[in-house]
């Protein structure tokens, strides 16, 4: 893998801004200003919390009254991040850094997957699990799912096997079709979410605020790619395997009862690195880069290869492209 010349590299010259979350549009397009909403929430929450806190021991007053991520002021966001770090320390006995770095201007991420190269080894699946602090066992959560398909049927989900077990891959007569969040430009999950707990960032990454998600799973019903995963139980994440480099909207440990998903390794790519799955792929089937940069690898793929998007008939317009290099 060549150094990521196409990726935006953050240098000191790019200067960390005063706000921990630069490059983001100021939000506040709602009819109600955040301060007033916060006041109302505090007032109404008083009674509700008293009732709920008594039956649900896990409820933290501060969390309960917290504002939507996009409504947090820079100061409030700093406090919230510090709290996540403190909680990580308590739970895992490990120092972590939790960033909320925003999208960089002039960057829109695109992903390419070479179907003709993928051998179905699932190294990407497990690299992703490790990088993104997914639950290891009971339940096991995979953001990347690799489908084994018959060559004679082509891309046909009715003949696809997600749970194939093989002594050696690729198997004769089969090809492999990895699926993860397609970071749609017209994301049905964002439309379906009743609380705006999920949205698409300016650099194209669809994120979830795990502290705003109510666990209704509308997004899962709406997603045509099975890319959203619910924490049916408290995630099982051994302390020694915790990845300490975290992003608030990405790989920080999730609570039970909320939905999570692939974020193109937001904690890595916004620092100018490749995603874990791109890095680990032994056959170089995975390509990643800035769609707005004409020199990027992903643009080269799109210009020279036969590219298609998955379930194009649904008009979700993915930023994830499959292609045949050979």
């Amino acid at each position: 893998m060549t150094p990521n010349k196409s990726l935006p590299v953050v240098t000191d010259a790019d200067a960390p801004p005063a706000s921990p979350r630069d490059g983001v549009d100021p939000i506040g397009d709602g009819p109600l200003d955040p301060a007033r909403r916060a006041f109302l929430r505090t007032a109404a929450a008083g009674t509700a919390v008293a009732a709920l806190a008594s039956c649900s021991s896990g409820v933290d007053m501060e969390d309960f009254l917290r504002k939507h991520f996009k409504e947090l002021s820079p100061d409030e966001l700093k406090k919230v991040l510090a709290k996540v770090e403190k909680r990580n320390q308590e739970r895992f006995g490990k120092k972590t850094t939790v960033s909320a770095k925003g999208p960089q201007p002039g960057v829109e991420y695109g992903y390419g997957l070479d179907i003709s190269r993928c051998v179905g080894c699932r190294r990407c699946v497990y690299a992703c699990v490790k990088e993104n602090n997914q639950s290891r066992t009971e339940p096991q959560i995979h953001w990347i799912q690799v489908l084994e398909m018959d060559k004679e049927h082509g891309v046909d989900l009715a003949h696809a096997d997600l749970y194939y077990e093989a002594d050696a891959v690729p198997r004769p007569g089969k090809f492999y079709f990895p699926v993860q969040c397609q970071q749609c430009r017209n994301p049905p999950c964002v439309k379906a979410c009743p609380t705006q707990a999920t949205w698409k960032e300016q650099d194209g990454i669809v994120v979830i605020d795990y502290d705003w998600c109510i666990g209704c799973r509308c997004c899962m019903s709406a997603c045509p790619y099975g890319a959203r995963h619910f924490n049916w139980a408290t995630p099982n994440l051994p302390a020694e395997e915790l990845n300490p480099d975290q992003h608030y909207l990405g790989n920080r440990p999730r609570p039970k009862g909320v939905v999570e998903k692939c974020t193109f390794c937001i904690q890595r790519v916004r620092e100018g690195r490749y995603t874990a799955c791109v890095e680990v792929c032994p056959v170089g089937a995975r390509k990643f880069g800035n769609l707005l940069d004409p020199e990027s690898e992903i643009r080269k793929v799109m210009e020279t290869k036969r590219v298609f998007v998955f379930k194009e008939e649904l008009a979700t317009h993915p930023q994830f492209y499959y292609f045949y290099a050979t």
Partner: protein, 416 residues
């Protein structure tokens, strides 16, 4: 205000007094609620993993029950229209019971949403002003809006009417009628929006059919009244509440039209799927014939169809419609038919096969049954309490003290 305090005290007295059968029924409901609370505590501690839902089938039994109950609630409109728009007296005398049923059904529907949520403690995030509702894009925010509006409307209407009757006064038409008329479109929209919740998802071809909302309304107009007809007969026996046969037969007749439509729309959908036989057929095939060795739902599908067809025939023939034995059998069958169809036949095939073509066979766990039982317990308790207060007011045995010795108002529904 003292009048209201007196009214509340009277209501409590009404609810606490009752015969042995009443007490046994209340005890039974409390046991059901107890089982529900224990089951829900288990679910809240372990997480929703205690259910059989998984990523592949991420909504199931709870949401099926929710959908069914929204239908039951919407069906009150089948009484409201003849009563208030056509001023048909026999139904006007019982319409309030339909509204009480709607209130209880909505309470249950909202509770089913709550028990299905991964983080119920964050319910305020969907509330207007307090949270950040994704309105108008998200169908669930619309659903929350119409369900709560319909619940509020029914509560105001029923409480106002009962309080006025208790005081021996007539209701103010200028307040009452506009609210009643408003409740008609709101009632229809509750079930329509619930259908749109599924219908709008292109990711699930099984639901993504424009016929879904009409089918929902048609099946609601069968299932809701089926519950009412049985309840009317029970109340007639228990309270000597004069509910005329004509009212029941009229409802049964309306049901037979609705059931015809329901079966017709089902046929239209089956034709489209099987005749064109595209990849979308898989979901319908999973329900009606199974895919390979995966046949969990097949028995439910055919059982539901058999119930609906037999019930339709019983309701179609006037002789069996007007015979209380066959009428009641028909009611139970239609109830079962729609309940199974909404519970197992709507939600689960929508998810099976999954969006990536995998088949996960879902059946509810005992814990899910326990939680559902608890929710039904709370709903039945709500209905029992409301009826226990409403019926004595309607028959004239529960009146404001200062009115009790005055001119005794005629039994039944007050007609201005």
């Amino acid at each position: 205000m003292s009048g209201i305090l007196e009214f509340v005290k009277g209501c409590v007295r009404q609810v606490l007094s009752g015969g042995r059968a009443y007490k046994a029924w209340m005890a039974f409901l409390l046991v059901m609620i107890g089982v529900g609370v224990v089951s829900y505590t288990h679910q809240a501690t372990a997480g929703l993993i205690a259910s059989n839902m998984r990523d592949d089938v991420s909504w199931a039994f709870y949401i099926g029950n929710f959908t069914f109950l929204v239908g039951v609630a919407a069906a009150a409109v089948l009484l409201v229209i003849p009563a208030y728009v056509y001023q048909w007296k026999p139904i006007k005398e019982v319409v309030v019971l339909g509204e009480l049923l709607a209130i209880s059904a909505l309470v249950m529907a909202l509770l089913f949403i709550l028990v299905d949520m991964g983080r119920p403690d964050r319910f305020l995030h969907i509330a207007p002003l307090l949270g950040t509702p994704n309105w108008p894009a998200s169908m669930l925010t619309w659903d929350a809006l119409v369900l709560n509006t319909y619940l509020g409307l029914n509560l105001v209407l029923v409480l106002y009417l009962l309080f006025k009757t208790y005081r021996g006064e007539h209701y103010d038409k200028r307040i009452f009628l506009p609210l009643v008329l408003l409740s008609i479109p709101v009632s229809i929209s509750t079930h329509t929006v619930t259908a749109f919740l599924y219908n709008g998802m292109a990711a699930r071809p099984y639901w993504n059919a424009s016929i879904l909302a009409p089918r929902f309304i048609a099946s609601a107009f069968c299932s809701g009244p089926a519950v009412m007809i049985i309840l009317f007969q029970l109340l007639r026996k228990a309270f000597k509440f004069d509910i005329k046969d004509e009212a029941i037969w009229k409802i049964a007749e309306l049901m037979s039209y609705a059931m015809f439509l329901n079966l017709f729309l089902l046929g239209a959908e089956l034709f489209k799927e099987y005749y064109s036989a595209t990849e979308h057929l898989l979901y319908t095939q999973y329900l009606w014939g199974g895919i390979g060795e995966h046949t969990v739902l097949v028995k439910y599908a055919w059982l539901s169809l058999a119930c609906s067809v037999i019930a339709f025939l019983l309701f179609l023939v006037p002789r069996t419609r007007k015979n209380f034995l066959t009428l009641n059998i028909g009611c139970v069958l239609i109830w079962a038919g729609v309940y199974i169809e909404k519970g197992m036949g709507l939600i689960i095939p929508g998810f099976t096969p999954s969006t990536l073509g995998q088949i996960y066979e879902y059946t509810p766990t005992r814990m899910e049954w326990g939680v559902a039982g608890g929710v039904f317990g709370i709903g039945f308790l709500t209905f029992t309490i409301l009826v226990k207060i409403a019926v004595p007011i309607l028959v004239g045995t529960f009146r404001a003290p200062e009115r009790a010795h005055g001119h005794a108002p005629a039994a039944g529904y007050p007609v201005p």
